[in-house]
Symmetry: C2
Subunit: 394 residues, 2 copies
């Protein structure tokens, strides 16, 4: 790990220029690569991941030992840890990407103008993509394979704590590219910081709002799942908002249920009054993505109060309303400015697979280009193809 | 012009913060404004433009006088100049935007998951948009009206040379907003530099490649129109590439035709040998967007040579091939990485109106979000709306 990092630090801008140049060249080759070549590469990558499982797990064990020595939390170690089952899931994920339809070349739209020109809008790759991610080694395979399927070159920059794991996985991806005759520079792994245009920002400060007209059983089921199914995913609920009109009926039920399930509750004054085990929420809690078994709870004044709270503190990721009142649901879903808004369903559905997109890299919370799950189609752009017979513009 | 500019320079960051804050608030109101309110505002804007025609023309006359005194070129003055006909065209353009379908709220896609959840992808406004443009006063009305129709707030930053004209037009737009009960802050005009996310970059170094298999008459017609119909638009051809195989048959014909039409020709050695009036092209000429009656001409080795030249010098805007050979056309259109690629048609069709999009702000040459003509749909984003009946994720 020391040698390459030192080299990069010695002349970072030259190295980054070189990486960018190689990505651009590889990207041009990938853009024109036929579907079969890309799928052959993906199948070869999956095989290489399986064949190198021992090397990947050994690299991962070193990463884990270092992270543990550095005092990483249990949740962090869980995200970092690979085992035989997770390596197999990674290989299977790459094969699933091979099975997705190739978006490149798809005609998204076509029409004929009165002068006889035909215009087609055709999907083309984005080109070179930079993906920056936390210490989840599997993202190396997910992001690498999705970018290749969409005809792009990709520069991957994973968390430092997972560098050995990522490097071992990357070696398998590179072997797959070489096997299919595609340029290995199409997937590069770097440790240096890079400046790239960003459209995916993955903070998930997700809210569940329980409306006055919520069914009690549905509210309990949805809140428990949204918070506790997996606390470390970006679609996990971090704040529970309870309508003042529902509080007498539901606040105590929900808070007790969460505490009994092992969740720490940090509440406003009304919530603290319910149960002595509720800690006081500070202003910071409303904006915190815990990614842990902790939830902030607040009583708000109806759907308008919920919308105002989410507008002020949310991260435009995923927010849910539980209510039997369709008008309240419509208002919430129109006015909450998030990539995904749900009515009577758990925020944990914020996932490309659950949307039917196949694999995804993450949930984009920006507004330009991609919003919500970033799958293979969101990793493309388009061009206009115009066919004429000598038309000129009057 | 002096007073507001001085105020802005006194504390630019506070002013920009204030402008941004007001745009954000206005944007929220616009996002939820019904179609009728937006259309009422647009019709009132058009009426106000007509009613204030004299004031607009008088402000424009001052801008023109200053620009002329500062030694502006004829092409620059032409773009800056308004007259009664152009003011009427501007008002009619705003009315045409009122006539476009409202993109906001349109369900782009909808599907049901196996667990019964319905997912809809719904168009929503982008929010607050910054538009930076050259000294073409009409863009103030075009960009302002398109942004309003798409439910956005917009901050307009036009060229300094057209500031008085833009201010007079902006006053009419603000009157229209007020008339319809929409916040006037939805269209703000600033003179200060602003930092905004950019997805439209409008350099148009457009090429026409005349292939060995081109029909001579079609090549002449398309080249003349692409270069000379209007030289000041971004879709005007700036470089003519002639296949070495077509040169004996077509190079002299095309060069003579262009010179006879009043176009200055700057050529490579082969082109200079054709006609003593051809000047020597420098390396810089291949990358120059003249926006004037000047063209660079080069002989290249077939479609591959044309693709290489465009890849090296082009601006990813609009490029055309003239050929009767479908395979050459397909190769050109697949490999030239531009927003618009045309076969046997003039590059001057690079225009939202010609594509059937109604009005447009410009041609985006970036790859993210919008590419090609930026009309009302490209000024929106989307969100996912999910309806369930209590679904939780297993």
């Amino acid at each position: 790990m020391t040698a390459p990092v030192k080299t990069i630090e010695a002349d970072i801008s030259a190295v980054m220029r070189d990486i960018g140049q190689r990505a651009r060249l590889a990207g041009r080759a990938l853009a024109l690569a036929p579907t079969t070549a890309k799928n052959n590469a993906l199948h070869a990558m999956a095989q290489a991941i399986r064949a190198n499982s021992a090397a990947i797990l050994s690299a991962n064990a070193q990463d884990i030992a270092d992270a543990r020595a550095a005092g990483a939390t249990a949740a962090f170690l869980d995200r970092l840890t690979l085992d035989a089952r997770r390596v197999e899931a990674m290989a299977a994920g790459v094969e699933a990407v091979a099975g997705l339809p190739d978006p490149v070349g798809a005609v998204m739209d076509a029409w004929t103008r009165p002068n006889g020109m035909t215009i087609e809008r055709v999907r083309v790759p984005l080109g070179s993509i930079g993906v920056i991610y936390e210490s989840r080694p599997n993202v190396t395979a997910d992001a690498g394979s999705l970018c290749i399927k969409a005809g792009n070159a990709v520069v991957l920059r994973g968390g430092s704590d997972s560098f050995r794991s990522s490097r071992a996985i990357h070696a398998a991806l590179a072997a797959g590219l070489a096997d299919a005759g595609l340029p290995v520079d199409a997937i590069q792994l770097v440790q240096a910081e890079a400046r790239v245009p960003v459209f995916a920002h993955l903070d998930g400060n997700c809210h569940v709002y329980v409306d006055g007209a919520a069914d009690a059983e549905m509210a309990k089921t949805v809140v428990l799942n949204a918070k506790m199914r997996r606390t470390g995913v970006c679609g996990a609920a971090e704040t529970l908002l309870v309508d003042r009109a529902a509080a007498p009926r539901l606040l105590a039920v929900l808070v007790t249920m969460l505490i009994d399930a092992g969740c720490e509750v940090r509440g406003d004054a009304a919530t603290q009054a319910i149960d002595a085990r509720v800690k006081a929420a500070t202003e910071e809690d409303w904006a915190t993505e815990y990614l842990d078994a902790i939830i902030a709870v607040k009583v708000v004044d109806g759907v308008d109060g919920a919308i105002r709270h989410i507008e002020r503190h949310g991260s435009h990721h995923t927010d849910a309303i539980v209510t039997a009142d369709r008008a309240a649901a419509d208002k919430f879903m129109a006015e909450v400015d998030s990539a995904i808004v749900l009515h009577n369903a758990s925020t944990q559905f914020a996932d490309g697979g659950e949307f039917g997109f196949g694999a995804e890299i993450g949930i984009a919370t920006g507004r330009l280009h991609a919003r919500g799950p970033v799958g293979v189609e969101q990793l493309t752009t388009f061009k206009y193809r115009v066919h004429g017979s000598g038309q000129i513009r009057p």
